[in-house]
């Protein structure tokens, strides 16, 4: 019997329908004002893709910041445990998961069964989150994806030493106005690099072990992923759909546990 997992995040809501290690249906939507309505909609879309109905499911597990608002299932699990289970399903050798989202970042150390060993993270500081990159993209007047690619062309990271997103903006502005001006791609490499330094600085407190997986909305940023590899000095695996990993883990938990 298949099962489903839903991740109700602050910015996006994700749903996955899983059976026997195969994803049958999935969906990502912008989170609605009404968390429950949004979650149901995401679930229905994923079910439609799978050609199934809610009654066909063994169980549903919900996770994410908005999980407390969901009433149509009793099973709620922490984001950490779902991230760990999801990453472990995709990459059984994973031992460190970096989840870098729009407004928060988390690092989780995982054991061979996908259980959480240690974790660290924050969601009250904009540095080291997608918001930082978005404000930088505005400053550099480029779309995020374009800025990400430009980062790969940079030769040296321009220095962005501030850990605070707001002070870092000022540093970037001085690079732009410098005489002679710092090369644009180097500034961009510096921006992505400083973000990686923050995340890895956080992670070092609990230790980084290979294999490492990068997930969350910012994982698809190629510039950031490259800078993360430089900082961690190990290969980083980015799954094809990094935003769905927690929902996948939730679905796996629903499948494996007695609901």
């Amino acid at each position: 019997m298949p099962a489903a997992g839903i991740d109700v995040g602050t910015l996006t809501t994700k749903a996955v329908v899983l059976d026997d290690g195969r994803v049958l249906g999935k969906c990502i939507l912008r989170s609605a004002e009404n968390a429950e309505a949004g979650a149901l909609k995401a679930l229905e879309e994923a079910l439609a893709q799978a050609g199934l109905k809610i009654e066909d499911l063994k169980g549903i597990v919900v996770t994410g910041a908005g999980r407390k608002f969901i009433t149509f299932t009793q099973k709620q699990k922490t984001l950490l445990s779902c991230l760990a289970k999801g990453a472990n399903l995709l990459v059984p050798t994973v031992r460190t998961v970096f989840d870098v989202g729009g407004e928060s970042s988390t690092v989780v150390r995982v054991n061979e069964r996908g259980g959480v060993e240690d974790s660290i993270g924050h969601d009250r500081c904009a540095s080291g989150t997608g918001v930082f990159l978005e404000s930088m993209a505005k400053l550099m007047q480029m779309p995020l994806a374009e800025m990400a690619k430009a980062s790969l062309l940079g030769e040296h990271r321009a220095e962005v030493t501030s850990m605070c997103a707001i002070f870092a903006e000022q540093e970037v502005i001085s690079h732009v106005h410098r005489q002679p001006p710092t090369p644009k791609n180097d500034i961009i490499k510096g921006i992505h690099g400083s973000m990686a330094v923050r995340i890895v600085g956080l992670a070092k407190r609990i230790g980084i072990k290979p294999e490492a997986v990068l997930v969350g909305g910012v994982a698809q940023n190629v510039g950031f992923a490259r800078e993360m590899e430089i900082e961690t000095k190990i290969k980083l695996i980015v799954p094809p759909e990094p935003q769905l990993v927690a929902a996948l883990g939730a679905a796996r938990i629903a499948l494996e546990e007695k609901v």
Binding site: R124, A126, C164, H177
Partner: protein, 267 residues
């Protein structure tokens, strides 16, 4: 009589102060420009020229602040914590607790009756709880930094801000503004959030009277009122201008250092 000068190059504001015979002869408050050496010179000239003085008239010069190592005419550099404490206590001999909110940092300092620092803590990474936070909010609300204090005081209902981060507070403020929340109420909530951060910082040192506030923030009547509310202590502000605490302290140190080099104890 010998003249002594103090130059305080902050991340945003550059201040200068000249003393003679223990009294302030002149002071200046300007903006820190992108080039430190130029800033140092125009700060000094802004202080000295109006009273007909030049660098060669100075017996000893001490530099402090963020940009202190790049003041070419300084005889010595001393940390801003020590200079702030020295300057504040020089004007207010009874002061024991100082809160300084600069453009990019926030400091809490305990000073004893001799002007010596006994404890300090500096929040120096995060824009939340600094002058920068207020600038960000002021621009979002379309007000000047001078207006936000008085406007905050007119609030009837403050909105609690859960965040300490200026980036998140900015988007929260924008959302509230779109919903039609009065600016005064938004500002009151934000001032409260910053005051809480400052209070938490102060709790890590000793909160003893007399309490003073230095730096640009001392001119924000809304913040001063909030701090009084949180601490239960009336802040006494130094004359002539709380923004020159660092520069004045540096000048006083200049005098002490010079006297020590002459083999005389400081009076």
């Amino acid at each position: 009589m010998p003249y002594f000068a103090g130059i305080d190059i902050g991340s945003r504001g550059a201040k200068g102060c000249i003393i003679e015979d223990g009294k302030i002869v002149s002071y200046f408050i300007g903006d820190t420009g992108p080039e430190s050496v130029k800033t140092a010179w125009y700060t000094f000239e802004g202080t000295a020229k109006p009273v007909g003085l030049e660098v060669k008239d100075m017996t000893y010069v001490v530099a402090t602040g963020y940009g202190r190592v790049l003041v070419p005419f300084a005889n010595e550099n001393i940390s801003e914590i020590s200079c702030h404490a020295k300057g504040a206590q020089y004007c207010l001999p009874s002061v024991r607790t100082i809160l300084d909110m600069g453009g990019q940092d926030c400091k809490a300092i305990n000073v004893n009756e001799k002007g010596v620092v006994t404890k300090f803590i500096m929040n120096d990474k995060c824009a939340g709880g600094t002058g920068r936070f207020l600038e960000v909010i002021a621009s979002v609300l379309g007000l000047t930094i001078e207006q936000i204090g008085p406007v905050a005081l007119t609030s009837t209902e403050k909105f609690p801000f859960n965040t300490v981060c200026a980036v998140f507070a900015k988007s929260e403020a924008l959302t509230l503004l779109k919903k039609g929340t009065p600016k005064a109420d938004i500002l009151a909530g934000l001032h409260d959030a910053i005051a809480t951060r400052c209070h938490n910082l102060l709790k890590r040192v000793n909160i003893e009277k007399d309490f003073t506030i230095t730096g640009g923030i001392s001119k924000n009547t809304g913040m001063v009122a909030k701090m009084k509310e949180k601490l239960g202590l009336e802040p006494v502000l130094m004359e002539p201008d709380p923004q020159i605490a660092g520069a004045l302290g540096a000048a006083v140190f200049a005098r002490e250092r010079w006297l020590a080099k002459q083999g005389q104890p400081p009076q």
